[in-house]
């Protein structure tokens, strides 16, 4: 099914294009329907296409040699992913996985390059998109390089732990991130690491501190 031209116009890459030019872009676009968990792009593979999310959400992430995932971004409708590899002709920079049923639209690298040469006016839009992605990644690098985040998260858990006498203040992962000075994704990884170490247990809406002394060691408060 052809992508809606009005949707194409809303994508930052193509916002400066005329109706005729959008019609040309529409012919280059292919649609891909994916289900939860489907891998759309695999890190390290040769780059084939840049994608735009039409509906649903896609998570982009990099994977370490020991299999740990670092989320780079959640890509929502109208946003793009796999941009870098398409423009520097290197391998895919990150993997992309559908978070639920989603529709994504893609343009093959060769088609996008040919279109850019014929319609150079979209180059500034592309540069703006890449610049915004670079800022986002730079911010993530800042957050990840503050060490040790795990110990700061451990300290938060100790500070906000209830004594069981009554309801205690609840925190979202975003709250913890704001207090600690990092991003939500890094808090999530820290909690997983603490659970793997057997210091806490994630029990639905409860974070249960199972080894308070060990958590105090990690937090540096013992």
């Amino acid at each position: 099914m052809a992508v809606d031209v009005a949707f194409l116009k809303s994508i930052p890459y193509f916002s400066r294009l005329s109706r005729d030019e959008l019609d040309l872009v529409q012919k280059l676009i292919f649609e891909k329907k994916v289900e939860r968990g489907d891998i759309i792009v695999l890190e390290g593979e040769p780059a084939e296409a840049v994608y735009f999310v039409g509906s649903g959400a896609v998570k982009t992430f990099r994977t370490s040699v020991d299999g740990k995932e670092q989320v780079l971004k959640i890509v929502r409708p109208g946003e793009s992913f796999n941009d870098v590899a398409i423009f520097d002709s290197g391998p895919n920079l990150a993997s992309a996985r559908a978070m639920g049923p989603a529709i994504v639209y893609g343009i093959l690298q060769r088609d996008l390059h040919a279109f850019l040469q014929e319609h150079p006016q979209i180059a500034l839009n592309v540069a703006n998109v890449l610049a915004a992605q670079l800022r986002h990644l730079a911010s993530l690098v800042d957050d990840l390089s503050f060490r040790p985040v795990v110990s700061r998260v451990a300290k938060i858990l100790l500070e906000y732990a209830g004594n069981g006498a009554g309801p205690s203040q609840r925190l979202t992962q975003q709250d913890m991130a704001a207090i600690v000075g990092t991003v939500r994704e890094v808090v999530g990884r820290s909690l997983k690491a603490l659970e793997t170490d057997g210091v806490i247990r994630m029990d639905r809406y409860r974070i249960v501190i199972t080894d308070r002394e060990a958590l105090e060691d990690i937090a540096g408060v013992s």
Partner: protein
Amino acid sequence: MIEMPVVDQEKCNGCGLCISVCYCNALILAGNVVTIVETEECGWCTECEAVCPTGAITCPFEIVVEPRRD
């Protein structure tokens, strides 16, 4: 009553992204805003909170200390 994520309906713009990522059918669109359906299937994955563009849905954690078994 089952503990469930919390929706601030004033912040909810009805985009439905949270519904698309929820694997336990705990969220539905009622009118133009998202409403929670209580279900024990909700595993508190917090994906709905992660994907929401407006911060309308939150999954707050209670932090407790497990009593020592001496």
